[in-house]
Symmetry: D2
Subunit: 315 residues, 4 copies
């Protein structure tokens, strides 16, 4: 199986389903997926397994929420097993609605179904408007809407989901914008098999996972110095347990720049030398098009001049 | 309301319920709670709210799992709102059983109910033994056992829970030790209102949350140098979104030593100077009784000698 | 012998003589020495020995030249033996003249006498105007003028010295301002026995000598971090051999601030912990009245707030 | 003028004369200079000027003394002007004798002539044995012996010089081994024009001069981190004034390794990026044959593996 070489050559796109989730909205926002096959999966693991098996060419999955933080299932699945790479990212503003079967008044809602992450983001609104409502966990936000849309008995009176899920299922919206944080955003990444490397655009991001040689949090300082000395800024840092023992962590990191940039290449080599393992998870254009904030002495031109100077010395 | 001054004076202990969870096991392992009142709460938030309101004197809640990582609800509730402090920690080995109503054979299990964190820890076993079983989320592992124990229809054929929950509820154990990681451990903390400060034992831990002045991950290097220069080792570091914007983080940190130790005091002052906010979440004896690994020049004696020397210079 | 407590109580001032040197000019510029006894010494060692013996109360000696660098005799004498402290500094612009006995034309000068440091600073001028002149070393610049002023045979035709020395001795000036660097400055320090500590003025400097635990230049990084983490700027750093072996160095350092400043106190304690020895050589007002450039989080007020906060935590 | 490419092709060797100095001993110890032309020069400047002009092929000059520190004339001449490179080093133990014309008893010595650096190294012995002797500066230690050997009047009764100078001149040795530090060593370097680069031996040293972008001693930390992050150890660090202003320094540095070593190349490029200027002064075999003490992750093999890994990622 020869991997596709550019994002344009991808045909089958998986995503964390079902239809009506924020993940589908993220995939809809990805231009190169327009008109291609879109396949929902029941879990991040299932989508990434299908990708590893070659059943799909790419998978859109959530990686980070501005309120709840990193998405463990995605971080952990990318950090282990057969290598995969991120080839793009999409930011989706998160807005929740409370929906119910037509005719159900807000005042009579006693039980609310939704995914636990969504529940965490509407706790404030619930405390003010439905302080006595009991929570019922569902597999996804869209699953709560789907359950209400099916005929027959249901475990809860109302659901919390994306506006699109409520309208898809023909439900009545009892309240809009019920998220506690109006600027909540979730970041999704498009994942592919290694071999697909987007071109550098000058506004790129790179994702890696670092495993330390010895399990001591102090060693993190040594890792961060590898970035600092080349002027590379991190945009996300999360520790994740390796599972080996309490206190054994790896670090999931996003930073500015592309693997083909000189300062990124030298940083990666430095990390490779001092870490037990560096897992490269891709370089890709930033969703916000933000260019790196390089200080004097750390631009690619500075690296090129320094290399030319060294080659002169060695000649 | 004058807060109790020592852990011995605490009477009412809340915990993340229901009965039969690992959290109850943690509270049972806390000697000073023996013979006192034990109150289950439906969520970490509920337990900590009751603590803040003065309804209970302390609350046992999970903070970190060796497989799944930090417990967001606990980390976030401690990082914001009315201040609380950790006054102790308990490590509980995590073992799961698959249980069902008497008479249900393993081969006929089609649906499995449990908490999503527990499900994540038994995925490997399920893939090998029940590859076609569908997952049904429940509010806790104990809730899956309780649901099976009640008469009438139930949403799933089997549950995943702690051995104690299965036996409490009179269920049949279909399989033991089904966790994918045999050495999985969850760390629980006993939380109280400020004013309770355990005595230094020489084998202590301190927990803090750091909010940076500017939201740039690079600034983390500056924070870590405050530890390094005083020889203080971190044992846990987690970034958590502040919710303000994508990429705005605070850092939840455990480190070796007690607030009354000289090297810890100077480290805290240094962090206080360079951070927008330092939230002190308590100093308490380590569950593993491990003493800090201090390098030359960073013992409390070294700090005392240096202070005496400075005072001579200034005299 | 009770040491004098303030710079005002000093009566007998030694200096590196003879009369007519730049060091005398430095002492003349020291207000508190006006009207007191001024005693020339033949060497820095002789002046500091007399000070240690109690024969004089203070000694003015050169420590650093903007062209030639540190003055080894002063640096080494302060770094070893009975402790002494710097209590003030004076900056003197260095201008040299070429002088001779009346009647000697410039074109006939074949030999030039002066101190080797002065010779180093006029090499450019000599190369252009007297390329064939031979150099004859003298004990001081003033000594070259004095030799020319005495009757009888002399080893050289012209001398290089301060303008005041040429006029003191009644010599003819053949050329003025012959120094290669028009902005050359020498820094002199007034040294006293320990016990004299000038008041902080807000524009102070502190001088120390650091001896590393192990002789590895890499350890310097650890020392510099002690300054950086408290926001203390160095203004001079010189390595000096300890004499123990090739590659065994101590570091002579000036930095901004006074030993009574909070950030300086903590820096000194940090250095004391990680060094084999820290030799304190005094805090004193800066000659240029320059105030320290403190970054946020490192002012004395920041240190005070941090301490108050810590004391609250500990209470 | 095509420069010679290997140290073997050098024919005319200059040195800091006159004959009978320690510098001549250093040149005699240099195997490749055996049987070639040896030319004494009156000063370091004169020798290096002749080298720059092409009149000689190499020059042996002192650079560092284990007691007195760096030799300013050499450091400054190498740091400025037409580029030169060090191609080798020699360590010479320093032993001084007190010599006089035959028949002069020790007890009658009233005046002693020698170079000021030598005088500094025998002050202790003089204080104990000839406390009243006056010092007379000479241009070199050998010059004091030569002056005594000439017929007629002389400015001093005895000289301090190398044993070889006393025997060359037929003088009587009044006392041997009069240096205050029995283990005193002077390090000499053999300097050539650029184009001569000794082969790496695995036990090499590199010499550079760093000029900072901004004149603040704090910036030194940034420079040292460039070494630390690649595991390169310094063996000498000296600040030297640039002459521009008081407090404006450059740093003269020796470190372990050869410019062709991967870790040295990356360090030099890093310094080139963050410095205003990096002056490369050569890579050459260490006189003591000491191999670098590389920590894990910083060997050339580690650098090669990291580069191969990066190239795979980029492919």
């Amino acid at each position: 199986m020869t991997p596709p070489r550019t994002p344009d050559q991808l045909h089958r796109f998986g995503y964390l389903g079902p239809r009506g989730t924020f993940t589908q909205m993220a995939l809809d926002a990805w231009d190169a997926a327009e008109g291609r096959e879109h396949l929902p999966f029941g879990s991040v693991d299932a989508a990434l397994s299908a990708l590893r098996a070659g059943d799909i060419d790419a998978a859109m999955v959530p990686i980070e929420n501005s309120v709840e933080g990193g998405v463990s299932a995605t971080l952990d699945s990318l950090a282990t097993g057969e290598p995969l790479v991120v080839i793009g990212e999409v930011l989706v503003p998160i807005t929740f609605v409370l929906c119910a079967r037509p005719g159900m008044p807000l005042a009579e809602v006693r039980t609310v179904g939704t995914h636990s992450h969504a529940w965490a983001q509407v706790r404030g609104w619930m405390g003010r408007h439905l302080p006595d409502a009991a929570y019922v966990p569902t597999l996804s936000t869209a699953a709560s809407a789907a359950a209400l849309a099916q005929p027959g008995e249901v475990m809860f009176d109302a659901g919390v989901c994306a506006p699109v899920a409520a309208s898809n299922e023909g439900l009545e919206v009892l309240a809009e914008d019920i998220g506690d944080n109006a600027s909540a955003v979730t970041r999704f990444v498009l994942v592919a098999r290694p071999g697909t490397l987007p071109e550098p655009t000058g506004a790129d991001k790179t994702t890696i996972v670092l495993f330390q040689r010895e399990d001591h949090a102090g060693g993190l300082l040594e890792l961060l110095e590898q970035f600092a000395v080349r002027g590379v800024n991190m945009t996300r840092l999360e520790s994740r347990p390796t599972g080996a023992a309490m206190g054994s962590y790896c670090f999931s990191i996003d930073f500015e720049g592309h693997v083909l940039d000189a300062r990124v290449g030298e940083t990666l080599m430095g990390l490779r030398r001092v870490c037990a393992e560096v897992r490269f998870l891709g370089s890709y254009p930033r969703a916000d098009r933000g260019r790196p904030d390089t200080r004097p002495g750390t631009t690619d031109a500075d690296f090129d001049h320094a290399r030319a100077w060294l080659e002169d010395l060695r000649a």
